[in-house]
């Protein structure tokens, strides 16, 4: 029993790292995704389509591979090695954040785009006919509909990101998974460290879902959080 407690305490050292990876990548990813999606919606054309293709390609490549490229590949590039960028790319922690945010951007921008195009045209026309300006229309007619349509897929995406942070241990970041894996390698005890880490991850996911649906209910005007499926 006390062994389990020791494991738990050791693994919990990684909690801060996991949470900060998760939250920072989430925020950066969301900001980038909003910009990317807004650009695609606002300026449709060849550039927007190229961006969409790029996002599509990013979504097709495993995160693990992207982590390897950035962590093992980038340091060999002179313009990274010899400039201020090196301070960032020398740290596995920041490499992990950059990769996670990058992938998050690709997935979230598509969710935002999807939510935008699902908004019924009639609502936009109705708002316009009332004499609202472009931004007011967005605020009144489009944004609420986007929140409603995008909530379920975005929740799924956030959970996926949370799970993806566990891959950071493959580039020597000591997060929850990193510590659990270290104990596993050291003691050859597979179950206990991994199950303990698993329980912590489940707690994080449960709390994240709670926070998201609370946020949604606060922000969304009328209507409740739709059932999260998919």
């Amino acid at each position: 029993m006390s062994v389990l407690l020791d494991y738990l305490l050791e693994i919990l050292q990684g909690l801060g790292t996991t949470l900060s990876l998760f939250v920072i990548a989430l925020v950066i990813g969301f900001v980038l995704a909003s910009a990317v999606a807004a650009f695609q919606i606002r300026f449709p054309g060849i550039v927007a389509r190229s961006i969409w293709s790029l996002m599509f390609c990013i979504r097709g490549v495993p995160l693990l591979l992207i982590l390897y490229v950035v962590y093992y590949g980038f340091p060999l590039l002179p313009f990274i090695r010899e400039t201020v960028l090196w301070t960032v790319f020398a740290s596995p922690y920041w490499c992990a954040i950059i990769c996670l945010a990058f992938v998050e951007m690709a997935f979230t921008s598509e969710i935002i785009r999807g939510a935008y195009y699902q908004t019924p045209r009639e609502q936009v026309e109705a708002a316009r006919s009332l004499g609202l300006s472009g931004f007011q229309t967005f605020r009144v007619a489009i944004l609420p509909a986007m929140l409603r349509n995008g909530f379920a897929p975005y929740t799924t995406e956030v959970i996926l990101l949370c799970k993806s942070t566990a891959l950071a241990f493959t580039i020597t970041v000591m997060d929850l998974m990193g510590y659990a894996n270290e104990i596993r390698a050291r003691t050859l005890d597979i179950y206990h460290p991994l199950l303990i880490a698993g329980c912590i991850y489940i707690c994080i996911v449960v709390i994240t879902r709670l926070i998201l649906s609370t946020l949604f209910n606060l922000v969304a005007v009328g209507g409740t959080a739709p059932e999260d499926r998919a």
């Binding site: 490549v61 998974m177 597979i190 698993g198 991850y201």
Partner: protein, 232 residues
């Protein structure tokens, strides 16, 4: 790049693609099987069956895939080798790591597939089941001829992403030591000092597969769309 491919790495990559595609295809197949079986079980009306399936999908969609893979892989590996030990004359044989790799991938992906099938199934009106029964179809016939084709139609786009996820999921096997595309690329990158060639090839393979995947499923979706043309 051609130099590297000609000097033996080409073959390495081919076999890695074979490995990844095989594991992905088997994983995709089995996860769909798991999805259908779990959905049937959840709808069977046994006490607690629906709750049990929900627990499976909730837990497995909340845990990091890599954690699950390591857990299931080592558990299965140990169990299978121990079982082989019990069979007389087999004690010296070691089973290839691919078996636990495929099984663990399937179980992880099965949670996604189950969620997909349950949602699709719930969209089928009760009347379809009743029409099947009143025309005299057996449960199995009604499942195969009436229900599954309709579920399939509803979830095709999602099946496309599931298919892509299957291949991406195989990347994790490199951590367990299976020589898939990612592992081959990173070994090549480290041993030759030309990381971008090797990582570039790996990325290209995944991108090509993603394009193929989306083309194929867009085509499949197009094909089943015809019955909805002009639907009121």
């Amino acid at each position: 790049m051609i130099d590297y491919l000609a000097s033996g790495w080409g073959l390495q990559f081919l076999s890695a693609i074979g490995t990844s595609l095989t594991v992905a295809a088997l994983g995709f197949f089995f996860c769909i099987l798991i999805g259908i079986l779990c959905t049937l079980f959840a709808r069977s009306g046994f006490r607690g069956s629906a709750g049990l399936v929900s627990l499976y999908t909730y837990v497995f969609r909340s845990l990091p895939d890599i954690l699950l893979l390591i857990l299931i892989f080592y558990t299965l590996d140990g169990a299978i080798q121990a079982l082989l030990h019990l069979v007389p004359g087999m004690s010296g044989v070691r089973l290839s790591a691919y078996v636990p790799a495929v099984i663990s991938t399937s179980i992880v992906l099965g949670a996604y597939a189950t969620e997909l099938f349950r949602a699709g199934w719930a969209d089928i009106p009760q009347g379809q089941h009743e029409a099947g029964r009143s025309l005299g179809f057996t449960t199995l016939q009604s499942l195969v001829l009436i229900i599954l084709p309709q579920v399939y139609r509803k979830i095709i786009p999602h099946l496309g992403s599931l298919c892509l996820i299957s291949l991406k999921e195989t990347a994790l096997l490199s951590i367990i030591g299976i020589p898939d595309i990612v592992r081959t690329a990173s070994i090549g990158a480290r041993s030759t000092g030309a990381p971008f060639v090797f990582y570039g090839i790996a990325i290209a393979i995944f991108v090509i597969f993603a394009i193929l995947c989306s083309r194929i499923f867009a085509h499949l979706e197009q094909r089943v769309r015809q019955d909805r043309a002009g639907a009121r």
